[in-house]
C-alpha cells in the first residue's frame, strides 16, 4: 500500500493522478482548497481519508473530486469532522464516472459532529455517473453526539465533558484506524 499524506494545498488546488494499478491511501487534515483524484488506470484501489477539527472561528472549505476515467477501479472517500465554537465547514464532493469507466466502484462519506450551537456545516456530496455498470454510493450525516450514550457514560460516573471527549475520540478513531 502506498501512503500519501497531503500537508498543504498550494494555490487552492492539488491534483493526484493514479495511472498504475495498486493500493493507495491518501490522508489529509484541516485543509482547504480543491483536491482532485484522477483515476487513469484499471486496478486502482484508492482510499481517501480526511479529518477536520474546527475550533473558535476556523473556516474550512474543501472540495474533492473522484474522477474515474478507466474501468475497474475503486475509490473510497471518508471525511469526518468535529466542529466546536463558531467554526464553519463547507464540503463539496463529486464522484464522476466517465463513459469508459465501467465496473467502477466509488464511495463517498462525510460525517460531521456539531459540538456547538454556533457551528455551521454545509455538505454537498454529488454524483455524476455516465457509465451504467457501476456501483456508487454517497452518504452524509450531520448531527450531535448521541445523548443516550452521554447519559449512560454519566451514569457510570464520568463528567459530561469526559463523556463527550470519549465519544468524540471514538468518532475520530474510524479515520485513525483506517490509517493503520
Amino acid at each position: 500500500m502506498k501512503k500519501i499524506v497531503i500537508k498543504n494545498i498550494l494555490n487552492q488546488e492539488k491534483k493526484l493522478i493514479f495511472d498504475k494499478p495498486g493500493d493507495y491511501l491518501v490522508f489529509f487534515e484541516n485543509l482547504s482548497g480543491n483536491l482532485i483524484f484522477d483515476i487513469k488506470s484499471s486496478g486502482v484501489n484508492l482510499k481517501i481519508l480526511g479529518l477536520y477539527i474546527g475550533r473558535k472561528n476556523q473556516v474550512f472549505k474543501i472540495n474533492t473530486f473522484q474522477n474515474h476515467y478507466q474501468p475497474s477501479s475503486t475509490s473510497n472517500l471518508l471525511i469526518k469532522g468535529v466542529f466546536y465554537d463558531q467554526s464553519r465547514f463547507y464540503y463539496q464532493g463529486l464522484i464522476r464516472i466517465e463513459k469508459d469507466a465501467q465496473k467502477s466502484h466509488a464511495y463517498q462519506k462525510n460525517q460531521n459532529l456539531l459540538l456547538s450551537d454556533e457551528a455551521f456545516v454545509f455538505s454537498e456530496p454529488k454524483l455524476e455517473i455516465l457509465a451504467n455498470d457501476v456501483f456508487c454510493t454517497h452518504g452524509s450525516t450531520t448531527g450531535r453526539l448521541n445523548q443516550e450514550q452521554i447519559f449512560y457514560l454519566q451514569s457510570r460516573g464520568l463528567t459530561k465533558k469526559q463523556a463527550e471527549k470519549l465519544l468524540v475520540d471514538g468518532f475520530i478513531n474510524e479515520v485513525k484506524e483506517n490509517l493503520g
Binding site: 463513459k99 465501467q102 460531521n112 456539531l114 459540538l115 456547538s116 450551537d117 457551528a119 455551521f120 456545516v121 454545509f122 455538505s123 454537498e124 456530496p125 454529488k126 454524483l127 455524476e128 455517473i129 455516465l130 457509465a131 451504467n132 455498470d133 457501476v134 456501483f135 456508487c136 454510493t137 454517497h138 452518504g139 452524509s140 450525516t141 450531520t142 448531527g143 450531535r144
Partner: protein, 464 residues
C-alpha cells in the same frame, strides 16, 4: 425483440380540432396581459400583479444551472386560450371534441370510481367540473382558479403569491403574469376530505403553453388529498408548461399532493411547487415524472411551525432525449420539525436523471431531523444519472442523514428470473417496478397500474 416494440408510441398522443373562442396571438406583451385580465374580469390588484410579474419575467435571466432551456422560444408560444365561455357544470353540455378526448383518458370512468370532484383542464380554462354534494355540505371549496378569484376574492388576495413570490424565479414570474386555470381549494377547520380531489390536465393546441395556478388552503386540523394527472397529445414543436402551486397547511392540518405527469416528449415542464407548514401540520408531495422533454421541479416544504413535518416521495424516469431534473427542498425554520425525502430515478436509452435537492436547517430549528435517500438505476451505457444534494446545517441539535446509491439492475436477479422462464425484458420490467414500489404503493391504484404498464412498455427492449 421486434423492432416495433422498441418504438413506444405515446398512449394519449392524439389531438382533436381546436374549438377555441378566443385565442391570443403568439408572443407576450403588456397589452396581451391587460387583455387576459380584462377578459377574465379580474380585480385591479390582480391586473397589477400580472403586469409587475411580467416586468420581473423580462428582467430575470434564464437559469444557468440544470437542464438546457435554450430551445424555448418565448415568442413562439401562445399565452392564452379560452375554449368555452365559462366552465360547464354538467358532462352533457361539453363540446363533442372535448368529450371525445376525455373518453380516451377515461374521465367519466374515473368519476364513477368515487372521485370527489373532477376538474379537467382543457386548453387553459377549466371547462368541466363536478363537485359532489357532500363536499359542498362540508364547506369545501373546489373550483378552478379563475372562479375562485371571482367568488372568493378576499381569500385569494390574502394567499395568492404569498409563498411563491413573483420575484422567485423566471418561470414563476411568467406564470404570475399569464396564469390561467388551475385549482382553488379551501378546506375549512377540522374538515377531513375522505375522497381525493382530482384534476386532469391537458394541453391541446399546438405551441400552446399551459400556465395553471393552484392554490390550496387547508385550515386548522383539516385533511385533503389532491391529485393531478397530466397527459398531453404529441406535437412537433415545443410546448411549455410553467405552473405554480402554493399550499398553506395550517396548524395540525395535513395535505397530500400527488402528481403523475406524463407530458408528451416535446414539453418543457418547469414547475414551482411550494408549501408552508404551520404547527404540527403535515405536507406530503408524491411526485411521479415520466414524460416531457425537460422537467425541472423541486417541490418544497417550508416548515415554519413547531413540530411541522414535510415529506417528498418522487419517481423520475428519463428515456431517450429526456432530462428529468427533479428533487425536493426542505427548509426547517422551527423546533421539532422533521422531513423525509425519498427519490427513485431511472435512466434508460440515453436519458438523464438528476436529483437536485436542498435541506436547510435554520438556527432556531432545534431538535429537527432530516432523512434523504436517493436511489438511481442506470439501464444502459448511454444513460446518465446525477445527484446534487445540498445540506446547510445551522444548529447542533439536529440529526441529518443523506444517502444515495447508483447502480444497474442486478444481473443475478435477471438470470434467476430468466431461469424460471420469464423473458429478459419482463424480468427487467419486474425489477424496475420493484425498485419504485416503495413510492407507487403510496399513490392511488389506477395510477399505480398505469405507471407499471408504462414502465413495462418503456422497458420492453430497452436493455440488450
Amino acid at each position: 425483440m421486434s423492432s416495433k416494440k422498441l418504438n413506444f408510441q405515446y398512449r394519449y398522443g392524439f389531438s382533436v380540432p381546436e374549438v377555441s373562442i378566443f385565442k391570443a396571438k403568439k408572443g407576450l406583451s403588456k397589452k396581451l396581459i391587460k387583455k387576459i385580465s380584462q377578459l377574465k374580469n379580474e380585480p385591479s390588484w390582480m391586473t397589477e400583479l400580472r403586469l409587475k410579474a411580467y416586468q420581473v419575467f423580462i428582467n430575470k435571466p434564464m437559469p444557468t444551472w440544470g437542464a438546457d432551456l435554450s430551445k424555448i422560444n418565448f415568442d413562439e408560444i401562445i399565452y392564452y386560450l379560452k375554449s368555452t365561455d365559462k366552465p360547464k357544470s354538467s358532462w352533457e353540455e361539453l363540446p363533442e371534441e372535448i368529450k371525445e378526448t376525455y373518453d380516451k383518458i377515461g374521465v367519466p370512468e374515473a368519476e364513477k370510481k368515487f372521485l370527489a370532484g373532477v376538474s379537467a383542464q382543457f386548453e387553459s380554462e377549466v371547462v368541466y367540473k363536478s363537485i359532489q354534494k357532500q363536499l359542498q355540505k362540508q364547506g369545501v371549496v373546489f373550483l378552478d382558479m379563475d372562479s375562485g378569484l371571482r367568488e372568493y376574492p378576499e381569500l385569494v388576495k390574502e394567499y395568492f403569491s404569498k409563498i411563491v413570490s413573483i420575484y422567485d424565479n423566471k418561470f414563476a414570474a411568467l406564470n404570475s403574469a399569464v396564469w390561467s386555470g388551475g385549482s382553488f381549494v379551501y378546506v375549512p377547520k377540522g374538515v377531513k376530505v375522505t375522497l381525493p380531489l382530482q384534476a386532469y390536465f391537458r394541453i391541446n393546441a399546438q405551441n400552446f403553453g399551459q400556465f395553471e395556478r393552484t392554490l390550496i388552503i387547508a385550515d386548522e386540523g383539516s385533511y385533503v388529498h389532491y391529485i393531478e394527472g397530466c397527459t398531453a397529445p404529441i406535437y412537433t414543436t415545443s410546448s411549455l408548461h410553467a405552473a405554480v402551486v402554493e399550499i398553506f397547511v395550517k396548524k395540525k392540518a395535513r395535505v397530500r399532493y400527488t402528481t403523475v405527469q406524463n407530458w408528451s416528449k416535446n414539453v418543457f415542464n418547469l414547475v414551482t411547487k411550494r408549501s408552508r407548514v404551520e404547527e404540527e401540520g403535515v405536507m406530503e408531495w408524491v411526485d411521479c415524472n415520466l414524460g416531457s422533454q425537460v422537467t425541472m421541479k423541486y417541490p418544497s416544504c417550508i416548515l415554519a411551525g413547531e413540530g411541522a413535518r414535510g415529506e417528498v416521495l418522487s419517481i423520475a424516469y428519463a428515456s431517450s432525449d429526456q432530462v428529468q431534473d427533479a428533487g425536493a427542498k426542505m427548509i426547517h425554520l422551527a423546533r421539532n420539525t422533521s422531513s423525509r425525502i425519498i427519490s427513485k430515478s431511472i435512466s434508460s436509452r440515453g436519458g438523464r436523471t438528476s436529483y437536485r435537492g436542498l435541506v436547510h436547517v435554520g438556527k432556531n430549528a432545534y431538535n429537527s431531523s432530516v432523512y434523504v435517500s436517493c436511489d438511481a438505476l442506470i439501464l444502459d451505457e448511454k444513460s446518465r444519472s446525477d445527484t446534487y444534494p445540498t445540506m446547510k446545517i445551522e444548529n447542533n441539535q439536529v440529526d441529518v442523514q443523506h444517502e444515495a446509491t447508483v447502480e444497474k439492475l442486478g444481473e443475478e436477479k435477471i438470470l434467476y428470473l430468466q431461469s424460471r422462464g420469464i423473458k429478459k425484458s419482463d424480468a427487467e420490467g419486474l425489477l424496475v417496478n420493484g425498485f419504485i414500489e416503495p413510492i407507487t404503493k403510496e399513490i392511488p391504484l389506477e395510477y399505480t397500474v398505469e405507471l407499471n404498464r408504462l414502465i413495462n412498455l418503456e422497458m420492453s427492449g430497452s436493455v440488450g
